[in-house]
Amino acid sequence: MNNIIVFIETDNGKLCDVSLELMTKGRQLASALKCDLEALLIGHEVSSLKEELYQYGAKKVHIAEDPKLEYFRTLPYAAITINLFKQEQPQIALFGATSIGRDLAPRVSSALKSGLTADCTSLEIGNHTDTKSGREYKDLLYQIRPAFGGNIIATIINPDCRPQMATVREGVMKKEALSHYSAGETNEIDVNSILSDTDLVVEIIERHIEEKKIDIKGAPIIVAGGFGVGSRENFKLVFDLAKVLGAEVGASRAAVDAGFADHARQIGQTGVTVRPKLFISVGISGQIQHTAGMDQAAMIISINNDPNAPIHQLADYAIIGDLNEIVPKMIKSYKKNSK
């Protein structure tokens, strides 16, 4: 009782990384709180995945299996989750900040009148004293997240309501299986006793899972390459840096015209206008037709070997030098210093 429950997502018969990252974090929190870590697995023919959840430290796996649950639908998934949380009274419940988790978790929190914090970047256990009443709270979940467009970092707590709920994006937490583990318990949820016809009114007519669309407009971090990158092959450097930073790749018109990058990535007057929180400009000189599409970025880092390139005027940090040296150094430094 009063354990930690992680909502598990699956994709094509495999556990999603974000869920395993949450299990890893949940394990740390459970050990700090001296409680157990449990998992909730909903789907169709998913029970064989429980072994892997034990490897990640689950003491108990709650399984709801039914053909009706093959694809995520809010109402039946919410009904099962709400029912389980009422019964098990977890003190903490964690969800991935995915299109599924961000749809399901708020509905569950509303039904349980419990607090939810979206997109946490860090979760810690700590105490709290209410300044008004002087009441002491022990072992609360600190839900730490950026807010206000990333300009502030807020620590949120839910002193009085349980479960304390949070969502976390993929790639934010570390994923680590246990080297030694033992199989835990299983709780088979009786799906049909929980679901009613009204839970099934929304029907899926069609599903197309496709290649990810290029969406540089909405990306919080953009790494953009210019003509100075030199070739389509060398543009891989730009993609590599973007990949480690979880960023999107953009390009100047000169780079697109030269065939280094697709038109969908073009930033500037003849492309899209972006306002990310961080813009890293690689081998771009900084002509007005390009900068008009990116000068509203909250922070700009420019990399160019020409100390007089106009892009440096705009940058918060201007790195003068060879991008072929600098970009690999940035990747190496990030890998070394993150997490």
Binding site: R102, R107, Q143, G150, L278, K336
Partner: protein, 291 residues
């Protein structure tokens, strides 16, 4: 078959956090909120467009905006009217202050009960919090189904709305009965511009508070026209449980706020040396800019 819908669009006035440029920074490097313009939350604009398209497709339908906020949030209603909405309500009361997403959703749901719409459409999330929680929570409070991340409301067949959803790696088409709460994704079409006729018609739309605040109200005679009055609703108008509103109805509390301190506005020149790059990356990680 003709069908007309009553639609409520949930819209929020937000500080333009995407536009925190260097001039919105105070000397200590923190954000000067007062310097940020208040705007119509971008995805709520996409939501308004979807509502107006339903109205185009099903004549006789009616689009109303619902916004919660201080007096100046009446701007949101006017902007909606200029673009084709038929009316709106400003939900405003000191008792709503300090609301987290749950208490906000409760207040909105109580106002929606009074408005009795068939379809509620909101943006997926607001740029000041990015939580995406209010839509689903409003749906739960009303016990309606929810369809999130809508990109297009395709049609109405056999008593059900057909909606295309944008997921992380694809699209899904679902059917849902009404009433329903729909949240709209940024990839949905942009909102149509202001309409000159609507602009002329609603230019002087005012709340009672705005009218009373303005001592030199030269357009007062026009205000006798009913359609120019933007209604303001408070707790007493929508009813419900007082402890579920505002701070007391909010399970989450803010324990601590840290401002991210930005570097000086001057651009800083770095060499390509390992040390320079390492210190830059460390700084970006510690300020949560990356990682």
């Amino acid at each position: 078959m003709t069908k007309a819908f009553k639609i409520v669009v949930l819209a929020k006035q937000v500080p333009d956090t995407r536009n925190v440029g260097k001039n919105a920074m105070k000397e200590d490097g923190t954000v000067n909120r007062a310097a940020l313009p208040a705007i119509f939350n971008p995805e709520d604009m996409n939501a308004l467009e979807q509502a107006l398209r339903i109205k185009d497709k099903f004549p006789g339908s009616e689009v109303k905006l619902l916004t919660m906020g201080p007096s100046r949030a009446a701007d949101i209603i006017r902007e909606g009217l200029f673009r084709g909405a038929d009316g709106g309500v400003l939900l405003t009361d000191r008792k709503f202050a300090g609301a987290d997403t749950l208490a906000t959703s409760y207040a909105l749901s109580m106002a929606i009960r009074k408005m009795q719409p068939d379809i509620i459409i909101a943006g997926r999330q607001a740029i000041d919090g990015d939580t995406a929680q209010v839509g689903p929570q409003v749906a739960e409070k009303l016990d309606y189904p929810q369809v999130t991340y809508a990109e297009e409301i395709v049609g109405f067949e056999n008593g059900k709305l057909i909606i295309k959803r944008r997921l992380e790696r694809g699209v899904e088409v679902v059917s849902t009965p009404v009433p329903v709460v729909i949240t709209v994704h940024a990839t949905a079409p942009d909102c149509r511009p202001r309409n000159a006729k609507q602009l002329l018609k609603y230019k002087y739309a005012r709340t009672l508070t705005e009218e009373q605040d303005n001592e030199h109200n030269s357009y007062l005679p026009i205000l006798s026209l009913d359609y120019l009055r933007i209604p303001e609703w408070g707790v007493n108008d929508v009813g419900g449980d007082e402890t579920s509103y505002g701070l007391s109805g909010s399970p989450t509390k803010v324990k601590k706020i840290e401002n991210i301190v930005f570097q000086a506005k001057e651009s800083k020149r770095l060499s390509a040396s390992e040390e320079d790059i390492d210190s830059l990356i460390k700084e970006l990680i510690s300020s949560h800019t990356i990682g």
